[in-house]
């Protein structure tokens, strides 16, 4: 089985240097794209591969690039790598950043070439100190070798690459909030439209792509769209880095074909539940995705299949709820997170999420009433997509509404017993 993204990652050793990565063909895609292809050809190739954005939303990457206006040659354009990975339960980009920074840099050079951006930024989560060191080292090597800077490979293409280490706040991962943060402002999401492809960083055309997405680009240019599609078990091409955390025998990350079933990931890779713990449910891709339960074990992990069972694949890193963890407390923890991480700009999110947290806390501590459950439901509806400025609050209520549905009896037993049955 091919593992293009992780085959050159050896977590116990230092990542490949530029020369070492070049020796295994790491920059072949860069040479091919810059020397043999036009920018439009690169975009069309990525479009035809149907690479879907790996940050969680699953938007087609090539389509995103093709929205950038290319007619004004003088206009500044920006490429940004979203490496802000702050979704609780998600740790896949960290693995890629720490394990093989050159894979990302190669992908970014090609992506920047496709949209003719001369400046690029890596927006990095503050906690990823090791990744920051490795990235800065790798970027310096790449400049020295003439693969970044002026006139790359003698093609006349110029590209600067900068690392911005963030100062916290989950909302920075939201594409337009990230742009504001990179401009040195409060990370408050912007109105769309205009989309960043038209008016992004400093008002200029900008593409923001996730780390895992950009890591694919050089491989796709090197091996082609059909190769990429062939790696998957479903319509969505490629492999995916899946992860599992919680009370399982072997928590971790694995690069597997897109469309691998939840059962295979959970049982074969994560080794199943720890002795004495029973599986109750999981969030398939971070805390902003709807619960799946036992009956979904044979669901294939890809964007459309998980979508069809009313959840989202999100980041593909699953959080497991076991029978010894109280589902109300589980949700209280998550909603506390979303409440404190709300940017505070729009009302349903700023006011609604703390209210939800308060109610969940009341239920968990034995002060719950049956009408609280109706408030939780109606608040979830108020925060549906379209009612808020960005996806923060709609994401926050995904685990809540599905949790209320699947674990309703546990909510009721808290209220009837006037205490948490798990305590």
């Amino acid at each position: 089985m091919e593992k293009p993204l992780t085959q050159h990652i050896h977590p116990e050793t230092v990542p490949y240097s530029l020369i070492e990565y070049q020796k295994v063909g790491g920059y072949a895609g860069v040479h091919k794209a810059l020397k043999e292809m036009t920018p439009v050809e690169v975009t069309n190739l990525v479009k035809s591969s149907n690479l879907l954005g790996r940050g969680g939303a699953g938007f087609p990457t090539g389509v995103k690039w093709s929205l950038v206006p290319m007619d004004n040659e003088q206009e500044a354009r920006y490429l940004i790598c979203n490496a802000d990975e702050m979704e609780p339960g998600t740790f896949k980009d960290r693995y890629l950043l720490e394990g093989n920074p050159h894979q990302l840099i190669a992908g970014m050079i090609i992506a920047a070439y496709a949209i003719q951006a001369q400046t690029s930024y890596i927006f990095l989560r503050w906690a990823y100190k090791k990744a920051e060191n490795e990235l800065r080292k790798a970027i310096a090597e790449t400049y020295e070798a003439g693969l970044l800077g002026k006139n790359i490979l003698g093609t006349g293409f110029n590209l600067e690459m900068n690392v911005h280490s963030s100062a916290g706040r989950y909302i920075c991962g939201e594409e337009t909030a990230l742009l504001n943060s990179l401009e040195g402002k409060r990370a408050i999401p912007r109105t769309k439209p205009p989309f960043p492809a038209i008016s992004g960083l400093f008002g200029k055309p900008t593409v923001v792509n996730n780390v895992e997405t950009l890591c694919w680009i050089s491989h796709i240019v090197d091996h082609g769209a059909d190769w990429f599609k062939g790696l998957s078990l479903t319509e969505t091409g490629g492999t995916k880095i899946f992860g599992v955390s919680g009370k399982v025998n072997n928590p971790g990350l694995w690069e597997l074909p897109m469309g691998t079933t939840i059962r295979e990931i959970l049982e074969d890779k994560a080794g199943g539940m720890l002795d004495g713990y029973r599986f109750r449910g999981l969030l398939p891709g971070g805390t902003s995705t709807d619960f799946l339960i036992e009956e979904h074990m044979d669901v294939k992990m890809d964007y459309s299949t998980v979508g069809a069972v009313h959840s989202r694949m999100g980041t593909g890193t699953m959080i497991i709820l076991d029978d010894r963890t109280c589902p109300v407390k589980f949700l209280l923890n998550i909603e506390h997170f979303f409440a404190i991480e709300s940017c505070g700009f729009c009302t349903p999110c700023r006011e609604g999420l703390p209210w939800i947290e308060k109610i969940l806390n009341a239920i968990e501590t034995g002060q719950g009433r049956m009408e609280h459950l109706d408030i939780l439901k109606s608040q979830s509806n108020y925060m549906a997509p379209g009612n808020t400025f960005c996806a923060h609050a709609p994401g926050a209520v995904e685990p809540l509404q599905s949790g209320l549905n699947y674990f309703y009896e546990d909510f009721v037993s808290h209220i009837h017993q006037k205490k948490c049955p798990w305590k």
Binding site: A76, E85, M86, E87, P88, G89, T90, F91, R94, Y121, R125, W126, A127, Y128, K129, N162, H164, S165, S166, A167, G168, R169, Y170, S181, L182, E183, G184, K185, R186, A187, F202, G243, V244, S245, G246, K247, P251, G252, L253, T287, T317, I319, I320, L321, D322, T325, K329, F330, N333, I334, F337, I340, E341, C343
Partner: protein, 154 residues
């Protein structure tokens, strides 16, 4: 007054962007690196260098959770209270820290050695529970290990 070194480092960051004000977050982080936190005076100094108003810099400084607008101890413990660390029992680690250091969330020990803060998710979810002290990550924490780890920070 900003130190010469701080000024130099901030100028370097400004060079990464088309406008000086874009370096605001970097500047706040740099000042904090040298002083441990960002005082009112530093906010004014940064505003002057970046040609921003004091209020603009203040609005940015208070938005970001990793910028400290109050003094912190010599070492900052960030204990993850996120969902994976909750499942794997961060609360036991918190209670132990509380007992050992006599401080709860947001507090600093009397000897100024440690400040304890909650953080949600450090990206160590497969090795939970986890915490960071200054720039170092610690995973799969047990109470015994916490004692050994704390000894390294004076």
């Amino acid at each position: 007054m900003l130190l010469e070194e701080e000024k130099k480092e901030i100028q370097q960051e400004i060079g990464q962007y088309p406008h000086p004000s874009a370096a605001c977050i970097d500047a706040l982080k740099l000042v904090q690196k040298h002083r441990g936190w960002v005082s009112d005076e530093s906010v004014k100094d940064i505003a002057q260098v970046l040609q921003m108003s004091n209020e603009e810099v203040e609005s940015v400084a208070t938005f970001y959770s990793r910028i400290y607008r109050k003094p912190v101890g010599r070492n900052v413990i960030l204990l993850c209270d996120g969902i994976c660390c909750m499942i794997l029992g961060y609360e036991t680690i918190y209670e132990h820290l509380y007992k050992m250091l006599g401080i709860s969330w947001g507090q600093t020990t009397l000897d100024n050695r440690f400040t304890l803060l909650p953080i949600s998710c450090l990206g160590d979810c497969d090795h939970a529970p986890s915490m960071m002290i200054n720039n170092d990550h610690f995973n799969r924490l047990t109470i015994q290990e916490v004692d050994e780890i704390l000894e390294k920070y004076t």
